[in-house]
């Protein structure tokens, strides 16, 4: 990861870059790195019901990996990710590109409306989504009843991934649309104009000009949203809290992490599972970074 381009290297000699970065670095260490390292250390502390905590490099990891709930939660998250991520990316890029193609008032209104559901969080989100997905009181009740099981319940573990995906897209798309739209407006209009003069149609402009120019944004969105998907927590918690007994409270891996930390007060196991989760996300991030040459400084 030492991609430096010659022009940037030339810039370097007289630049006090660290002065610009130092204040941020202090915050990065204090509120990012230090807590993470402490969390890592905690993963090696084994708490037991009797006796003092002990130190073990592997015990918490063994305990967590052999938890009977983990395979189910991992499968749930995998299914969720497979449904949610493609829909999210499709919605975000289609809408952002359409808004950028012609910047009309209608496009602006659409951008605003897509953002609103994501702004509702916490207790309010619990209320909102619970009503949305309860067939008898929901505005889309007729649609939901198409999926209800014979006993009348909608939220079984089987349909849950689908429900969460809809909710995840409704709540998550708006923010990314703002980001992608911002990236698209940052493209110099000269580039797009000259492509049009060369006879490129709208699709060609998108595929060969616009998307390649914002590819580092695409990589970033892929990394962060994949990690968000793996760590899905708020959505299943919200619905599980509103419909007790209908869905497992450890439906996702991250809920299992919280269950270790809060219900069992076993911070070591919580940290161990959180680290395993992080390892998967980092492996994917590194894969995406190397595939897209994410850290090149560009040729401009």
């Amino acid at each position: 990861m030492t991609i430096t381009n010659s022009r940037v290297r030339r810039l370097r000699r007289r630049t006090p870059a660290w002065g610009f970065i130092a204040p941020y670095l202090v915050l990065l260490v204090l509120f990012g790195v230090a807590p993470a390292i402490y969390g890592l250390y905690q993963a090696f502390i084994v708490t037991s019901v009797v006796g003092d905590p002990s130190f073990s490099l592997v015990q918490n990891f063994i305990d967590v990996l052999s938890d009977y709930r983990l395979p189910g939660s991992a499968l749930n998250v995998a299914v969720y990710l497979v449904i949610w991520l493609p829909i999210l990316l499709l919605v975000v890029f289609t809408l952002a590109l359409a808004m950028d193609a012609k910047r009309t008032r209608f496009a602006t209104l659409t951008r605003f409306v897509t953002y609103v559901p994501g702004a509702v969080t916490g207790a309010a989100a619990a209320l909102l989504w619970l009503f949305m997905f309860s067939p008898n009181v929901s505005p889309i009740g007729g649609f939901l009843r198409l999926f209800t099981t014979h006993n009348g319940s909608f939220l079984s573990d089987n349909t849950f991934a689908l429900v969460l995906s809809v909710m995840g897209v409704a709540a998550g798309a708006g923010g990314w649309i703002v980001v992608v739209y911002g990236a698209l407006t940052g493209i110099s209009s000269d580039v797009v104009e000259s492509a049009k003069l060369d006879g490129a149609n709208a699709w060609q402009t998108v595929w060969h000009i616009k998307l390649p120019l914002i590819r580092s944004y695409i990589a970033f969105i892929l990394i962060v949203s994949t990690a968000q998907g793996f760590q899905v927590f708020v959505e299943p918690t919200v619905i599980a809290a509103g419909a007790p007994g209908q869905v497992s409270r450890t439906w996702s891996i991250n809920q299992l992490v919280y269950s270790y930390a809060t219900e069992q007060s076993n911070y070591g196991r919580a940290s161990a599972l959180a680290i395993l989760l992080l390892v998967v996300c980092v492996a994917l991030a590194v894969f995406i970074i190397t595939k897209t040459k994410f850290y090149s400084t560009g040729d401009r």
Partner: protein, 289 residues
């Protein structure tokens, strides 16, 4: 001509369907305070209840604990403003430097920044609490403000924007003109990066305003609570959502919906305000100068 029309029609249909999909929850939420708790279950979900019911819901909500909701709102404003100002003051120069200067450790800082963004927050919250507790800041506003000033997402956005949209030639030109490095950042870079800065400022406001676990863990006294934590405590203590409100406190689903509308209003106002500036920046003209 025909494809032009087809494209426009296609786009408008796409937008209309989108508004329908994203709009239904919003419309439901806006209508919820007009109904009674029972009405929410038995009336048409998208019907308008009764205007006077909003007054009842508002009376119940603002009357709770002598209007403590105003204290929570003020706390939210103060924590948000303080953390966003510091977050921007640190993230903007850092993102700029990471994009435009090559120095030892550049990729490392970028990678660690990305890493901290994808660390499960469950793993960080207890260490953060212990950290704040060690310096005696728990149950003070600073225990919420300080961790929120760390803004890796903002740093990344500025970095991405700067590498994609700000040509080196502009900075080199300013340097040749004898501008100081600090001057280049404040007088050349920041005006050009305004759309990106406005965008991260907006996301920082939302992040701080909506942050839940941090104030929930750090603050114990009710007078310091934010709108989000205060409402959560209120809702869970009255069972307003699970339908099991057996207490005398008149906080039920319509009150919670009203509280939801009140707590997202500032965000939506900031969004509408910021939207104007998201599009502005074009560096094409600057480059030719």
């Amino acid at each position: 001509m025909f494809t032009q029309l087809g494209g426009r029609l296609g786009r408008n249909i796409l937008f209309a369907v989108t508004i329908l999909f994203f709009g239904i929850p919003i419309v439901w939420l806006l209508l919820a305070p007009t109904k009674t708790n029972n009405g929410l279950s038995f009336q048409n979900p998208l019907s308008f209840g009764n205007l006077s019911q909003i007054g009842t819901a508002a009376g119940n909500l603002f009357g709770y604990n002598h209007g403590i909701i105003w204290t929570w709102a003020l706390n939210s404003v103060w924590y948000t403003v303080a953390s966003v100002v510091i977050a921007l003051a640190t993230a903007v120069p850092a993102g700029y430097a990471l994009a435009k200067f090559a120095f030892r450790g550049r990729s490392t800082v970028l990678f660690v920044t990305l890493l901290t963004m994808i660390v499960p927050s469950a793993a960080l919250i207890l260490p953060l609490y212990l950290e704040m507790s060690a310096v005696g800041l728990t149950n003070t506003p600073w225990s919420v403000i300080l961790p929120l000033t760390f803004y890796p997402f903002g740093v990344y956005m500025i970095y991405l924007f700067t590498t994609t949209s700000i040509p080196n030639s502009i900075i080199e030109a300013a340097r040749l003109d004898g501008c100081s490095e600090f001057g280049i950042m404040t007088r050349v870079f920041i005006p050009l990066a305004r759309p990106a800065i406005v965008m991260i400022a907006f996301f920082a406001v939302v992040g701080s305003w909506n942050s839940f676990f941090l104030p929930f863990i750090m603050l114990t006294s009710q007078d310091l609570a934010t709108l989000q934590t205060g409402l959560q405590i209120l809702v869970s203590s009255t069972g307003a959502i699970n339908g099991g409100n057996l207490s005398n406190i008149p906080i039920r689903a319509p009150e919670v919906a009203l509280a939801a509308i009140i707590s997202i209003l500032p965000i939506l106002m900031v969004f509408l305000f910021a939207q104007k500036y998201l599009v502005a920046g074009q560096t094409a003209g600057a480059e030719k100068g």
